[in-house]
């Protein structure tokens, strides 16, 4: 009984410790803008689609700039690091990072979903 209680407390503490810095809100581009400035400077995962003709890849400085779009809203994204191999306009993407007042989302990680054309054949 006592051991169980201690365990629950320890677990709860571990969970609490781990939780704080790891949690981020998950929104789409339009949901983000619908909330005004509320989500500025917070850890976010934003879902959208890489806009056509928006990709600027500077290989020399490892700087990737692009725009993600969803629900009629656009967001500028800056990512420092290698361009993911399956990165291209039209793909669905999750960008992880923070949005700052200068209007640019600084992404620390890019998560690409497999392009929708994989699905196009999978009709039900």
């Amino acid at each position: 009984m006592v051991a169980g209680l201690i365990l629950i407390i320890v677990l709860g503490y571990l969970f609490y410790l781990s939780f704080g810095s790891s949690v981020s809100y998950y929104v789409t581009v339009s949901e983000f803008f619908a909330r005004g400035t509320e989500l500025h400077d917070t850890n976010l995962r934003v879902a959208g689609e890489i806009a056509n003709n928006s990709v600027e890849w500077n290989a020399e400085d490892l700087e990737l700039r692009f725009v993600i779009t969803e629900g009629g809203d656009d967001m500028m994204v800056l990512y420092r690091g290698a361009k993911p191999s399956n990165f291209k306009a039209g793909s669905s993407i999750l960008v992880e990072g923070k949005y700052y007042a200068d209007g640019v989302f600084r992404a620390s990680q890019l998560i690409l979903k497999c392009p929708s054309k994989y699905e196009s054949l999978e009709l039900e």
Partner: protein, 652 residues
Amino acid sequence: MAEAGHIALILALPVAVFSAVTSLVGARGGSGRILASARISAIVVFVLYTLALAIILYAFFTKDFSIRAVAEHASRDLPAVYTLSALYAGKAGSMFFWGWLISLFATWLVIQKRNNNGQGILYALAILAIIEVFYVALVAFRVNIFARHPSPPVDGFGLNPLLQNFGMLIHPPLLYLGFAGFAVVFALAMSALITRSAGNEWTIRVRHWAIFSWCTLGIGNIVGMWWSYNELGWGGYWAWDPVENAGLMPWLLGTAFLHSVAMRRQRNYLQTWSFYLIIFTFVFTLLSPFITHGGIESPLHGFYGSPFPPYILAAMLITVFGSMWLLYRRRDLEREEKPASLISREGAFLLTNVILAALVFVIFLGTVLPQVSEALGGMKIALDRGFFDRSCGPLMLILVFFMGVCPVLGWGKSTWRSAKRDFLYIMIAILVINAAIFISGIGRWYIAVVTVCGFPLFIMFQEWYRGVKSRHRTIGENWIRAFFALINGSRARYGGFLAHIGVILIALGVIASSFYSLERTATLDIGESLNIGKYEFTYQELRLKQDNVKASAVAAMLVSKNGGMAGIMYPSYDYWFSHRDHFAEVAVRTTPAEDLFVSLVWTGFNPEDKSATFRVLVNPLIVWIWVGGGFFLLGGAVAFFAEGRQLDSAEG
């Protein structure tokens, strides 16, 4: 032809229902004819299912693109070996194969001679038949794997290049073997609940199946890590993605179950607890397809637009409520004994069990929380890898430490005297090594590594040495002979030792590579180089070539270590015409101390400007993860055959 396969599958459905009904009637004391029908119908389901499998495999191997599943996942240029991967790359194919394994195992139970008596087996058969009905109904009616393509293409779409890898060839079937095996363990457990008998023979049989399932599932996960490391190009092997967690959680629960059943054979502890564990192991094997088929959103991989999740969720709920009801009915059966002292082998087993369950609890919460918070009306949240690292890491370290304590703790109660005898020299040895590490300044985390991993390793070697020495003294066998005779004499124990050594080696690789990995990304022109640690990588040449399948850019990277030439590595960057997408092939150079990992992540395919972006990692001790996997498999196999032998002798 394909229609024949579909018909075979449809026919299997009523036969499986019939098998379930006759098994139930037979178990309640039916006549010999009913018993015979129960057995034969289980075999007929398997035969029909195998026929269907043979037909779909034939369609895959002959590249019959008039069948949609073949057109979507195979292509003319797909090498024959990977045709098998194409089968389970599809959502219907994966469930189809899994269902087939369950029918195979049910037949296995039937034809084993020793199972001919006892109603327990009949209840188990009935439960397996019900599970089969579920799978057959899904793949025969919900997503028909034999469905024709509305307009058959000349060539198929082809298999995702990332899946064209040996690891991905064996990773899914290993997982499915484990999952299907745990279904058998679950069925045996439920039959014991219904018949209210769980004798010695039952325990051995359950352990036999549990070891098999636990071992295949564990190896399946390790192969998945190996694939992720060698194919995906991000330099890691575990991302705490929901799909990965889905394979890990049932394995952890199965591990707890195995340990609690090990206890049961020696003492009468943990009865009800074991039943809870196997019930949830089985439920979590269902959670896995629930997640991979999109029931929980995974950012990385999974099957798109699969209709299965609601059905799987229903099956999970029915399983939980049904088995809880059974457990409730038998609550009067056996009183639990409490361990006399926590400082005993029982106490350590108990703690191990609790920590394993706690681990699963944390991983489960972390996996489903993002989804749940949205369902509860809050904002959708996401958890990053750090959450899992920080919450699971400490628990896993405690587990590894316990592996060292358990083997030397006696049943009942341990004394300080015996503890001193067992631990003193090892503690001194660890202190000395740590002092050496501290002085040499390799890195402070290695002190933790040596303490946590070295302790259990040394304990096991000491136990081994003691066993061999006593045989050598008393029986007079030479050392080598005594070593093998010792393992042979108590295979379950030493199988466990080997598996534990495997897990400790994996922990070693994981800890070292988590804390001491070096990473650099840079864009280089021909002739330029980048430095990382004591290595220098010089970009020498880029070869562009093209065939029918892909256009490749292969870079030659000259590697030198401390100024001396160490070799050339060839990472490549491919454009696949079928998928209209780029895929990187990483180059890995393995030594016992560290891996060099080079991924060519971008180049313009321009003969004039060959500048290219490379990601380079130096990952220490990674190879020990795969070596640990080998020990794990060896240990599982030794224990498995030990149980098999016991099963034979238990029935005379």
